[in-house]
Symmetry: C2
Subunit: 333 residues, 2 copies
């Protein structure tokens, strides 16, 4: 196997977040399910935007946030995702490249605008997301650069890729190239409703070994196995997955491996400001640890550290160098 | 004099801020003067953007920030400024309207893009600004709605309006309408280099009574009177201006009136994150207090409160309700 060019290459929906504070009754009034992601069309996007408060725009996208986290830890990182060449697409491209991530996917020159996610942050710090996929709809297998995939130690994919019509073909193509090149494939389940939409396909990917490392939060895990009992779900997960990490917010996480299940604590923090990106940054920390040969506990602690950083400010990408933060916390990478 | 429809109507450059953290040596390498605003053309804008780190986009503009602050205090507020009908212009329009500010200036449909200000925030919390004026260049006297001006208790203008070619004509037209309607005119000097560009004109406006209330920070005051001695400058200011407030960062402010000079302390805060908007929000608090008939000291304390809020987070607009914050601090408006 050739030396890798990238520690992690991520494939996901390229999205700009439009973030506003909102009260809980705003969610109720607009039929939003707190803490989840809903896909919306342009008409609903316009309606939500008109109703929501003053916002800030910040590059987002689940896998993109993870990849920026990997780069912030000092990892060699690349991203594949589709923007349009409009102002928000230019901002997305600027931000991810400025984070030292290789990003070469050709932008769309026609069709819908760059994807945006309207995020309501409630006073408890929880985020509720409404995604207009726009140009991200058009991610296509031809956007997958075979050489880049083959040169990445880990290919990281988001479950959200099941939503656009051709992105899952891109996903399968990338996983196939990765495995043929002796690389590993990681997947995040993304969202409980996303799991609900594609449960059988996700289970199939996990069981047949397309996925080597699985990330899920508790709600996604419960949705995957259609059970409200955590231990039952973990038992099934252990039988199905090679390696999985289940994040449980302030309760930390559980690393589920064939040889055992290990719980790792969350990092204590003062105040949750905005949980957007918590799962994405956890994955970044775990992946950088894993790709640098750390044990599961250390990798999980790096994940917890990155998640703790991102939930203490508005926005889903790190505000400080995670490499420096890890070193300060006795977890050099 | 008819009852007012607005407590404050602001006229200024309509700008979207593009904010990134930067080290001091970045400023040096790019020939930037820390803590000031420089006008840049499109070529330099592109060069700076390419070089700067990951950014967030947030509506800005000095007078616009002030007006949003007035609305956050519960004031009736309106804004006049020129965007293009592009994505950033739509974001600016959304944000200011979502803050309950009347904003009806017709957007440009051709010509350069919505103005943007590339802001570098250094580790000390200081901000260094590079403004590409874009569509704001085209603010014109015909954008001034006579009825709206005549119905505003205070018309608030930014010194930055001297930069675009026709905006100062709009400024003079608005001041003229305001005075004919028995309203007051307030001006902020904006920036020490801006004062340097238009010193004689600003002094003339102050001395001939076009300006009833003047806002300046210490550096702008020193630039106005070309002296490094604060007391000398205040003495001259007292002779020239009807009412002026000079802000001095952590040293608080000085209210300079014909009948005396009064110092008011700053609000103590824990950590300065980003000083962008400090002066703008000070003006918001002072103006809301003034327009509600509070004494100068109380108005200045409201200004200090709003400034303290905005410098404790990234971005130049309040993150909480200033009305609620004022009530909590025993300063109901």
């Amino acid at each position: 196997m050739a030396a890798s060019r990238y520690d992690v290459l991520g494939i996901g929906n390229a999205i700009v977040d439009v973030i506003a504070r909102a009260e809980d009754d705003f969610l109720v009034a607009h039929g939003m399910h707190k803490g989840t992601m809903a896909l919306i069309d342009q008409k609903r996007a316009e309606k939500i935007y008109r109703a929501m408060g003053p916002a800030v725009e910040s590059s987002g996208g689940s896998a993109a946030n993870t990849i920026v986290g990997v780069a912030s830890f000092g990892g060699r990182a690349a991203f594949v995702g589709k923007v349009k060449n409009d102002e928000l697409g230019q901002a997305f491209t600027h931000d991810i490249r400025a984070a030292r991530v290789a990003f070469d996917t050709k932008p769309a020159t026609a069709g819908p605008s760059t994807a945006r996610c309207y995020i309501m942050v409630t006073p408890d710090g929880e985020r509720t997301m409404n995604t207009f996929l726009g140009a991200a709809q058009d991610l296509h297998p031809k956007d997958i650069d075979e050489a880049a995939i083959a040169a990445s130690a880990v290919v990281y994919l988001e479950g959200y890729l099941w939503d656009p019509p051709h992105a899952k073909e891109a996903f399968v193509k990338a996983a196939d190239i990765a495995h043929k090149s002796g690389r590993r494939v990681a997947l995040t389940l993304s969202d409980a409703f996303c799991v609900d939409r594609y449960r059988a396909e996700f289970l199939n990917l996990i069981r047949k070994g397309t996925v080597d490392i699985l990330f899920a939060n508790e709600r996604e895990l419960h949705s995957l196995y259609e059970t409200s009992d955590f231990d039952t779900a973990v038992k099934q997960l252990r039988a199905d997955a090679r390696l999985a990490v289940v994040t449980r917010s302030e309760k930390g996480c559980v690393v589920v491996a064939r040889d055992g299940v290990e719980a790792v604590q969350a990092m204590p923090i003062e105040k949750v400001v905005d949980v957007t990106g918590a799962g994405d940054l956890f994955a970044a920390g775990f992946l950088i640890g894993h790709s640098h040969g750390k044990d599961h506990r250390t990798a999980a602690r790096l994940g917890a550290l990155a998640a703790a950083e991102v939930i203490q400010h508005i926005g889903a990408r790190p505000a400080v160098s995670l490499k420096a933060l890890a070193a300060e916390n006795g977890l050099p990478v």
